[in-house]
């Protein structure tokens, strides 16, 4: 079953072309790793998929679950099931994590026409997830990412992913800035999330994340295009040889 189909995608940021004819097919149950040198367009791809303002698609198409999402706003894509774990999660002072999670879950429930989730249930679920990610459940009372360490912010992203249960999770360099222990915790979270009904795109610089999360496919992005695709052995090859031989 196709979850994401990107066809000959061109996109620009501030008038600067970044993606130059990128195509990618992602099916349910798959984990794709996107690797590539700095400036190759990895984060742009992640943001374009999420519909971030300022990222302009100039040609090509993106279909999510057989639906063209070009005209959908970011929050519409989110409730449709696209999740982006941020490379740099922002702080939202004064808004507690609990309020934030509740508002997010309510928006999802509203979009699906389902019942509003009850607060007690959310708290219980969020506390359990927090424990599984080595986060102090007290964090729910604090402002969103307010005063969090880099590792805590990344774990909070994974918590949100597990709570919202998206169909497609795009992780934008979630491994950057994590120590080995935190990396293991985050990887466990992603492995727990993986199922036959969803798909994951891992944007990463480093092979080390792929030691913990086994990808089905590895793609190399260079100058806005996928220049090489393979299985997980490609990542090991890149680790050894670098990117230069591909570009």
């Amino acid at each position: 079953m196709s979850i994401l189909n990107i066809s000959n995608l061109h996109a620009e940021v501030a008038g600067q072309p970044i993606l130059k004819g990128l195509s990618l097919q992602v099916n349910a149950g798959e984990v794709h790793a996107i690797m590539g040198p700095n400036g190759s367009g990895k984060s742009t791809l992640a943001n374009v998929l999420a519909g971030r303002p300022g990222y302009q698609v100039t040609s090509g198409s993106v279909t999510f679950q057989d639906m063209d999402i070009a005209d959908q706003e970011a929050h519409e894509r989110a409730v449709a099931g696209i999740f982006l774990a941020f490379q740099y999660p922002v702080e939202i002072p004064g808004v507690s994590n609990m309020e934030f999670l509740k508002a997010a879950l309510e928006s999802h429930a509203h979009a699906k026409g389902g019942n509003q989730p009850n607060a007690a249930g959310i708290i219980k679920q969020a506390r359990e997830l927090a424990k599984s990610l080595d986060l102090n459940p007290e964090f729910l009372k604090r402002g969103v990412n307010e005063g969090f360490s880099g590792g805590e912010k990344k774990r909070n992203e994974i918590l949100q992913m597990l709570l919202l249960e998206p169909t497609l999770a795009v992780l934008d360099e979630t491994d950057s800035g994590l120590d080995i222990d935190a990396l293991q915790v985050v990887a466990n979270g992603v492995n727990k999330f993986r199922s036959q009904d969803n798909a994951v795109i891992l944007v990463t610089h480093y092979q080390r994340l792929l030691d913990h999360i086994q990808p089905d496919f590895v793609h190399v992005l260079a100058d806005g295009k996928i220049v090489q695709s393979g299985d997980k052995t490609l990542a090991l090859e890149l680790e050894e040889k670098g990117y230069a031989w591909l570009t």
């Binding site: 300022g54 970011a74 808004v95 309020e99």
Partner: protein, 488 residues
């Protein structure tokens, strides 16, 4: 693609209380001179001392310059084009009971959601608002007061000030102008000369007022200024919580509102005064709207007295307002909690003064300013410690939140300390609702309007906590409405 913050702050929320009541009024021709002052006084059948007091204020006002130091800009107010008295004609003799109140007036209050009609108010007991007594001021005449009997049982006096002048002259004479003297400032002097009506509250010694007291002000008549005068006296060991809500209809002209509120808390007494101000702010280009030039001040007159101001200011074209506390009694406490939201071309210059005179006096200032559109939002505060204020303390926190990049936030905190053992703390932050924050919310499914409202509500949390429950809900909604327009 979705909008960025900058695109979201364009249009204006439709002003929800902007209807005009068609009702015959008795209105003085525009202009102000001693005869007008005498007319107003005579109309209310006032004793000679009050007529003289007004005339004295008028004479002072004539000599005073308009204040120009505030960070606001507007064409000069033409004081001789304002009518200084307006009363609904059918009420010329004053209603004796609710049945006599013009049904048109009652409908107006219904639209505003005030449980004026006693039946409705009592019905409201079951639903939401069991303990609120309402004194409604419609233009210049206070038309009806509910729950007065229940209050009378507790010995609480809650009535229009025009009535208190007759029923409790000794109290009014003793305290009127005792906190805000006639010569205090230009607008206070004007108010003293022509004040129309307002509320009077007296809580006797040791009495805890059995319900929240509430006044709704509304400016209706075209070209009339509104000059309320409110006086609240809490005798020793008493306690009262007072709520004030304000709306005005949409008009193309600017209207002047120059009220004076005086609070007196004697020893061990506590007054909590909460305001939700939603006067018409003008349209998105600044046409029309209320000039809200208000003097509010409280006196902690005895030991351990406490006065707490909480305000949520979302309306008015221009706001010029500094609810203050004079801390005279030893160990007395003054508090100021404020949320001021400006949108479009609104201008607000608001803050507080905490004047420490007594020993061990303590004050707290929490101010939250939110600016969006092309508005200008200013905090202006003064904390003064006199040499007599041993071991006094103040804590000030002043936060500004900007939405978009065409608005302004300004902070002018003044600290005057003549007492070396005083402790002063001042914290201030300025932040911006960023595109990144908005996108982070959107990416989790939260639409931009809700996201902005959630971020702003989070920013104001410390102040909303201070509001009585019903008001906190109303304030949250009001903020959402004001911002919903901003996210047009």
């Amino acid at each position: 693609m979705s909008q960025s913050v900058d695109e979201l702050v364009g249009a204006n929320a439709e002003y929800q209380a902007g209807f005009v009541t068609q009702i015959e009024s008795e209105t003085l021709p525009p202009g102000l001179d001693p005869d007008v002052v005498r007319f107003i006084s005579a109309k209310k059948n006032e004793p000679q001392w009050l007529t003289d007091w007004r005339l004295q204020a008028y004479a002072l006002w004539r000599e005073m310059p308009e204040p120009v130091w505030a960070h606001v800009h507007f064409p000069p107010v033409e004081f001789d084009k304002i009518s200084y008295y307006s009363a609904p004609k059918s009420q010329a003799d004053g209603p004796q009971s609710l049945e006599e109140v013009d049904p048109e007036l009652l409908r107006t209050y219904e639209k505003l959601g005030i449980p004026l009609h006693e039946q409705e108010a009592l019905a409201g007991v079951v639903k939401s608002n069991p303990n609120v007594a309402v004194d409604a001021v419609f233009d210049s005449v206070s038309i009806a007061t509910t729950f007065r009997d229940k209050l009378a049982e507790a010995g609480v006096i809650f009535c229009p000030i025009s009535e208190a002048v007759h029923s409790h002259p000794e109290l009014v004479r003793k305290y009127l102008g005792s906190v805000v003297p006639q010569r205090d400032n230009f607008y206070a002097a004007l108010n003293s000369a022509v004040f129309s009506d307002g509320s009077f509250v007296y809580i006797p010694k040791g009495v805890r007022c059995p319900m929240e007291l509430s006044t709704y002000f509304r400016i209706n008549e075209r070209n009339t200024g509104q000059f309320e005068r409110t006086l609240i006296v809490a005798d020793e060991g008493s306690h009262v919580s007072y709520l004030e809500g304000c709306t005005a209809p949409m008009r193309d002209e600017n209207q002047l509102h120059a009220a004076v509120v005086e609070l007196v808390a004697l020893g061990d007494a506590e007054i909590k005064y909460s305001t939700v101000q939603n006067w018409y702010p003008g349209d998105e280009n600044g046409k029309g709207g209320i000039y809200n030039f208000v003097t509010k001040r409280g006196l902690c007159g005895g030991p351990r007295a406490k006065i707490s101001w909480t305000q949520v200011e979302t309306g008015s074209a221009i706001t010029w307002k500094y609810p203050s506390v004079i801390l005279r009694g030893d160990h007395s406490v003054g508090e100021f909690y404020s949320v001021a939201l400006t949108n479009n071309v609104q201008q607000a210059d608001t803050g507080t003064k905490m004047i420490h005179l007594g020993n061990n006096t303590k004050s707290t200032i929490i101010s939250k300013g939110i600016s969006t559109g092309r508005s200008q939002n200013t905090y202006r505060g003064l904390v003064r410690f006199s040499p007599t204020a041993n071991h006094a303390r103040n804590f000030t926190q002043c936060d500004s939140l900007l939405i978009g990049d065409t608005c302004g936030a300004h902070t002018f905190p003044y600290i005057e300390n003549k007492q070396p053992n005083a402790v002063v703390e001042h914290e201030a932050t300025t932040s911006k609702v960023s595109d990144d924050q908005l996108f982070a919310c959107q990416q989790r499914g939260i639409d931009p309007e809700k996201a902005v409202s959630m971020i702003v509500n989070g920013f104001c949390k410390e102040v909303f906590r201070e509001l009585p429950m019903e008001f906190a809900v109303e304030a949250g909604k009001l903020l959402e409405v004001s911002l919903e327009g901003a996210v047009g």
